[in-house]
Amino acid sequence: MGYRVKAEVMDAEAVDRALTRIAHEILEANKGCGDIALAGIMTRGVDMANRLAARIERIEGTPVAVGSLDISFYRDDVSIRLAPEVHTTDIPYPVDGRTIVLVDDVLYTGRTIRAAMDAIMDYGRPAAIQLAVLVDRGHRELPIRADFVGKNVPTARRERVKVLLEELDGRDAVLIMEDDGEGE
């Protein structure tokens, strides 16, 4: 199946502003960064988490712990498809009693977040789990909502939302892709 770009809903500047806003919101909601740690979901969530951590440190002057989470083994569709590539999860901080902010690029059905919550719980008992996403595109299949959202983007199910990040893709942008065949 092929996809073509239907619209660019965020450009580099918009992504940058959204991340900065989210960093502020996280600090505001948690009254500082004393007890929080970030956990980026593979793969783009990890880069986002690193950027948010950098912003938070700039604002607060203290570093915030960042980890990366691969949720391949927690997916509920392992028997239908394997993850093309499994990465090693790295949560370098104790989870017990902490507020963990999950970071992902796109919030869609909610299944990834469900898996990520299970994964985090296997490391310990966090005080709370919050969720930060760059884009919320709707179509939830589970009772999950994001605490911090860069942009709400209404989409059709057959469309795809593609987040581009400097680290992996060479530039920052959010695209809506339209499929010209079978949808995802």
């Binding site: 083994f73 997916r75 392992v78 028997s79 394997l82 499994v86 090693t88 999860t89």
Partner: protein, 311 residues
């Protein structure tokens, strides 16, 4: 996805398959360091450990691997002795097939038992050791351990020492090393060499001391001939003298080289106690890797659209 539905011999795996298994195993190794070493990945899948030969470490390793992936593991232990009149292997396989399990790990006294299961069962078969033929997951965990310790597999020279012709470990490790671009060197008295070592594609040596300085890994096989009617060597003492790994021989290895053994060890025969317990011994690391590698194998065989029920 892996090339084959089964892992019965190393022939079932391509070089890419091996890399995928080892990479996946690294992620599982991380899980095995956690306080809660359990994943929901294979919830609702049934894995049968079908062991016709006594085995502690291999069976436990598979069992722990299946439990950590939340699969329902069932152990079936039976005698494969030809003199014990019981159900045939084929009938056992048909019985298991009727219970619709998802993966069977089989350990059997005779070569070809996994292939026989695959003929009558639809599920994936993993060979946990068949006769003196193959033991592919042992080879995979050995590769994993070598890669962890030495940072690469390609170009390594791995000396496999001992009872080559009766060793299913060597039967899988030699082709496995070749697939990843390493050089297996088999070292044994001629009485413990296979009939046609050239078929295996390994370098052949009879004098351990001569090859020691060229090895990256010295892999000692278990020798067990106490009760054999035609011992292939005069005594354990002479074996240890000519082929046993001891401190003096370890000194002759390059400084980066490591020592491995699939276990269980005969201390004082193929390996001396001080070598086994030295920092250059990866023996416990092999056991540890075993669980992660077997988790990876189970995950990769049972995941994907083609294997079993939809989610």
């Amino acid at each position: 996805m892996l090339t084959s539905k089964h892992i019965m011999t190393m022939d079932d795996l391509s070089a890419d398959d091996i890399t995928l298994i080892l990479d996946t195993a690294e992620s599982f190794a991380e899980v095995n360091q956690r306080r809660i070493k359990k994943l929901p990945t294979l919830r609702g899948r049934t894995i049968v450990n079908l062991f016709f030969e006594p085995s502690t470490r291999t069976r436990m390793s598979f069992e722990i691997a299946s439990k950590r992936l939340s699969a329902d593991g069932v152990n079936f232990t039976a005698s494969s002795s030809a003199t014990v009149k019981g159900e045939t292997l084929r009938d056992t396989a048909k019985t298991l097939a009727a219970m619709s399990c998802d993966l069977v790990v089989v350990r059997h006294k005779y070569a070809g038992a996994p292939q026989m299961l695959a003929e009558v069962m639809d599920c994936s078969i993993v060979n946990g050791g068949d006769g003196v033929h193959e033991h592919p997951t042992q080879a995979l965990l050995d590769l994993y351990t070598m890669r962890q310790a030495l940072g690469r597999l390609e170009g390594l020279r791995v000396g496999i020492v001992g009872d080559i012709c009766h060793s299913r470990v060597a039967g899988s490790l030699v082709p496995a090393l070749r697939k990843v671009g390493a050089t297996p060197v088999i070292i044994a008295p001629p009485t413990l060499m296979p009939a046609r070592p050239d078929v295996l594609g390994a370098e052949v040596a009879y004098d351990l001391d001569e090859v020691l300085p060229s090895l990256d890994v010295a892999y000692l096989l278990r020798v067990q001939f106490e009760r054999a009617t035609r011992m292939p060597f005069p005594s354990n003492r002479e074996y240890a003298m000519l082929y046993g790994m001891n401190l003096a021989r370890m000194e002759r290895l390059p400084s980066h080289a490591v020592v491995m053994h699939p276990g269980p060890m005969n201390r004082g025969v193929e390996i001396s106690a001080d070598v086994a317990d030295s920092t250059r011994s990866l023996i416990l690391g092999q056991v540890e890797s075993g669980v992660a590698v077997r988790m990876a194998v189970m995950y990769l065989l049972l995941g994907g659209a083609d294997s079993g029920a939809a989610a």
